[in-house]
């Protein structure tokens, strides 16, 4: 509690277009303090790591990101449209968007701020409150038209700094967009990212979220997606390399007939703790969900998945399936997985499943019996395991060479 209040006191005065949410977030943190392990959704979290997060300075007073040694962006050169969320800049003014993308004005920002989030008001959204309290930059835009270029959104981080970022994206009717987000971290940096997405009727978003950390870095990311009728949302999320990372996708299908595909991969090693807490709620009939969550845990790492699906009475004829598949590679690693299904509608087809195991002996043996060395066979199988998720990232992701990064680092 004390640490939290201390942190709040050090924040600058609430101001600007984000003033209202800053006040909200601060109030919420003032009263709640740090999450307690008695709260189910934080029970497994190493709460010490949250404290570390609050000990970092805030991004506004720090150096230019170009001085940070994070990722060699040139290596991943881009032909589409690349946006970098540089906390030094006033994002909504300085960033140039290609045609078809239109920034929201102040009134619109106020109108949309928190709108997708409000479908999921939950007092335990600590990750959200931290962002609300501290964020002072926002990028908000709507997307219209056809044949849009794929968009790449890079969220860099800074040494010894907590970088809060906030984005709103509105896809108008029938708009199709590919979006690749890359959140980077290294050394003792931290990300706090909140993204709100509105998909209007028949809109389609193919969303890749790649969070590549390193060192002691932490990442808290909260995604709220509101899907209108017949819209399609596909999220492929990869978390890797963070000392502490927590991704919270919240998806609501507002008037039914939506399609949601969630794929997640978290690869942990060392003492890392990676978590995904997803929620999908159906607020109309004929919706469908396909969710596949994978994890590989090595060394003394800890991988957590909590996947809630809510099917209220109004959501007749929902078809939802969730599968959690986990590989445990070390005796000291730990995997916690908790699918949660809450169903009131009676005419639904919902299934979920979970497996935890090590690599299959017979598969390894088969490869080895063809002359492949054990280590290579293992690596091949792990690649295959990851590929099932990675292949669904937007094509832009190829340049980031994610698969190799993952496999190289898995034994670190």
């Amino acid at each position: 509690m004390a640490l939290c209040r201390q942190w709040l006191e050090a924040l600058p005065r609430p101001e600007g277009v984000l003033e209202k949410i800053q006040r909200q977030g601060r109030k919420s943190l003032f009263y709640s303090g740090l999450p307690s392990s008695k709260i189910e959704s934080w029970r497994l979290t190493d709460l010490k790591r949250l404290e570390n997060l609050l000990k970092l300075s805030l991004s506004q007073e720090t150096q230019n990101i170009s001085q940070s040694n994070f990722f060699n962006l040139d290596k991943a050169a881009n032909q589409g449209c690349r946006l970098i969320l540089d906390p030094q800049l006033n994002l909504n003014e300085s960033i140039n968007l290609p045609s078809g993308f239109q920034k929201l004005n102040t009134t619109e920002i106020q109108q949309y701020l928190g709108r997708a989030l409000n479908h999921f008001s939950s007092p335990n959204d600590w990750a959200l409150a931290v962002n609300q309290a501290s964020t002072n930059q926002i990028l908000a835009f709507r997307v219209q038209g056809q044949d849009l270029p794929p968009l790449e959104l890079i969220i860099p981080s800074q040494k010894d700094t907590l970088t809060p970022t906030r984005v709103i994206i509105i896809l108008e009717e029938k708009v199709k967009l590919k979006l690749l987000q890359v959140a980077l971290g290294a050394e003792n940096s931290a990300q706090s990212h909140v993204l709100e997405i509105h998909l209007n009727k028949e809109a389609e978003l193919d969303h890749g979220f790649v969070a590549l950390g390193g060192g002691q870095a932490s990442c808290l990311a909260h995604l709220a997606v509101a899907q209108e009728i017949s819209s399609k949302y596909s999220l492929t999320a990869v978390q890797h390399g963070w000392m502490f990372s927590r991704l919270e996708p919240r998806i609501i299908q507002l008037n039914g007939q939506g399609s949601t595909n969630l794929k997640g991969l978290q690869i942990s090693t060392g003492k890392q703790q990676l978590a995904t807490h997803s929620l999908v709620r159906f607020e109309g009939p004929d919706g469908c969900l396909n969710q596949l969550q994978k994890a590989i845990a090595n060394k003394s790492s800890h991988s957590i998945f909590n996947g809630l699906i809510e099917v209220p009475k109004i959501a007749q004829n929902t078809n939802a399936s969730q599968l959690s598949r986990n590989l445990l590679l070390s005796r000291h690693a730990r995997i916690d997985t908790k699918p949660e299904l809450e169903i009131v509608a009676d005419d639904v087809r919902c299934s979920h499943g979970a497996t935890v195991s090590k690599l299959q002996e017979d598969e390894l043996f088969y490869l080895r019996s063809r002359g492949i060395a054990s280590s290579q066979a293992t690596s091949l199988l792990l690649q295959g395991y990851c590929q099932e998720i990675i292949k669904d990232l937007p094509i832009e992701a190829q340049k980031w060479d994610i698969l190799n990064t993952l496999i190289e680092n898995i034994n670190e």
Partner: protein, 480 residues
């Protein structure tokens, strides 16, 4: 049109066990404190170690908080308004059944559990518990010939204090949870089973629990110990009269299985569930846990849960011994405003342990039926395996089915598989059966019992029919 409503109607059945036996009862004054606990202990002429066990538990209970994490939303229980001991007057154990009050025998007859020599269920020994005390235990002598002890807990504490000292509270410590602590402080009676080395218990053992008084909590305690290489199958049944207040039932069951032994524990729970508006009914907050202490030991829980306003129950297995086996087979049927939150915990500690979970939930009316489970693979559980399957069937569009299967693994050389599905009785399936001349009711009943088959197959033969009958009873009635 043969609608889901009709399906709903036919599972809304009047409760057949709702009668009250008019018998003179001795009750102690209500409320709980150290004096009450001393009084209960004194009434039962207990040895000192047990009184100390109770008092310690009471102190722990005072420190514990009543849990609310299962989101059951029940109206709070005033623990000072409950009576913790009620017994038919003149309750000392009779030498022969002829001396037992005929009203009591009649009660158990009506419940389908005849205790008289002539009418007894053959090959089933019964311990009949009425409110806080055990009325009669049948076939005791025959069991004793095989060295099997089957008696009420009250007898056991005096006759076999060493066994009780050794095992009571060894699986469910009194500090385990709020209701276990309460039970440990005030438990009144229950059954004790001890199967010595190498003995396969020659008959099914069974306890029948009957709550008769409206203001009395029932806190029975069951302890089953299977020594090396022995085996036993045990069944409990439960009913209660209809009161419009809620009665608390907080039992503790402990099972201990040593090397190569096996315990099969089956429950047919049909406590009064409250009326169709959700008034009254039993709060069924039970702690059941088995410890597979020995190598290759096996504990199997089977349960058919149809009664109670609220059920809160997670029969669990701690798999300590190498290659030990835990099983959980459950059918839970909820209707009206019933709430069932049930499941299991399989804690794999030893190497090559294995567990199987099969849970079938059927929810109708405004009820809610949750499966909540934990499968945990500890660091030393190498080669451990678990398979879980939980299926839900929804009847009508106001019932809720929730599943919370929790999986935790710290052991790479282990395997966990979990599958779950939700379905309803489809109109096409009903029509197909009807078009072959099978009546609507029977068709629904066939489908529900088909849905539950995997679990019914696990019940002891003598009781499989009983469970089917109980479900059919809940299912039979007027077709709208």
């Amino acid at each position: 049109m043969a609608s889901q409503n009709q399906v709903g109607n036919i599972i809304s059945q009047p409760y057949k066990y709702g009668f009250i036996t008019d018998i003179e009862t001795e009750k102690i004054s209500k409320g709980i404190n150290e004096d009450i606990i001393k009084l209960i202990s004194n009434k039962k002429k207990e040895p000192e170690f047990l009184l100390n066990f109770r008092l310690k538990a009471y102190k722990q209970w005072l420190k514990l908080e009543e849990p609310d994490w299962a989101n059951l939303g029940y109206s709070p229980i005033d623990y000072q308004e409950l009576i913790y001991y009620a017994a038919p007057k003149d309750n000392h154990k009779k030498a022969s059944l002829d001396e037992v009050d005929p009203k009591l025998l009649e009660t158990f007859n009506k419940l389908g559990i005849p205790l008289n020599e002539q009418k007894r269920l053959s090959n089933v020994a019964v311990d009949a518990v009425f409110d806080s005390v055990s009325i009669a235990t049948t076939y005791k002598e025959k069991l004793a010939e095989h060295g099997v002890i089957f008696c009420s807990m009250s007898e056991a504490v005096n006759e076999f204090p060493d066994l009780i000292k050794l095992y009571l509270g060894s699986v469910v410590p009194s500090s385990d949870n709020y209701f276990a602590a309460l039970n440990s402080a005030v438990f009144s009676d229950g059954s004790f089973v001890f199967v010595p080395k190498g003995v396969n218990c020659p008959m099914e053992l069974s306890s029948y629990f009957r709550i008769n008084s409206g203001d009395t909590g029932q806190f029975e305690r069951t302890l089953i110990v299977a020594e090396e290489g022995s085996s036993v199958s045990y069944l409990e049944g439960c009913t209660a009269p209809m009161f419009d207040t809620n009665t608390l039932h907080a039992a503790v069951v402990e099972l201990i299985a040593l090397d190569d032994s096996s315990i099969k524990y089956s429950t047919v729970q049909n406590w009064y569930a409250g009326n169709e508006k959700g008034v009254g009914g039993i709060y069924n907050f039970v702690t059941k846990r088995g410890q597979c202490k020995g190598k290759r030991s096996k504990i199997s829980w089977s349960q058919v849960e149809t009664g109670s306003a609220i059920t809160w129950k997670y029969p669990s297995c701690i798999l300590l011994g190498e290659r030990s086996v835990g099983e959980f087979y459950s059918v839970a049927l909820t209707n009206n405003y019933q709430k069932a939150d049930t499941g299991t915990k399989m804690i794999h500690v030893g190497a090559n342990t294995s567990s199987t979970i099969v849970s079938k939930g059927i929810s109708a009316g405004h009820s809610s039926n949750s499966y909540r489970g934990l499968v945990q693979m500890g660091p030393n559980a190498s080669g451990a395996r678990n398979y879980s399957q939980c299926d839900s069937m929804l009847i009508g569009d106001k019932a809720a089915a929730n599943t919370y299967p929790y999986i935790r693994s710290q052991q790479p050389v282990s395997n966990i598989e979990h599958e779950a599905s939700t379905c309803r009785i489809s109109e096409d399936q009903l029509f197909y059966l009807q078009s072959r001349g099978i009546g609507f009711e029977e068709a629904v009943s066939m489908m529900v019992s088909g849905f539950c088959r995997d679990v019914f197959n696990q019940l002891p033969m003598e009781f499989a029919a009983e469970a089917d009958k109980l479900l059919a009873l809940k299912l039979e009635g007027s077709v709208g």
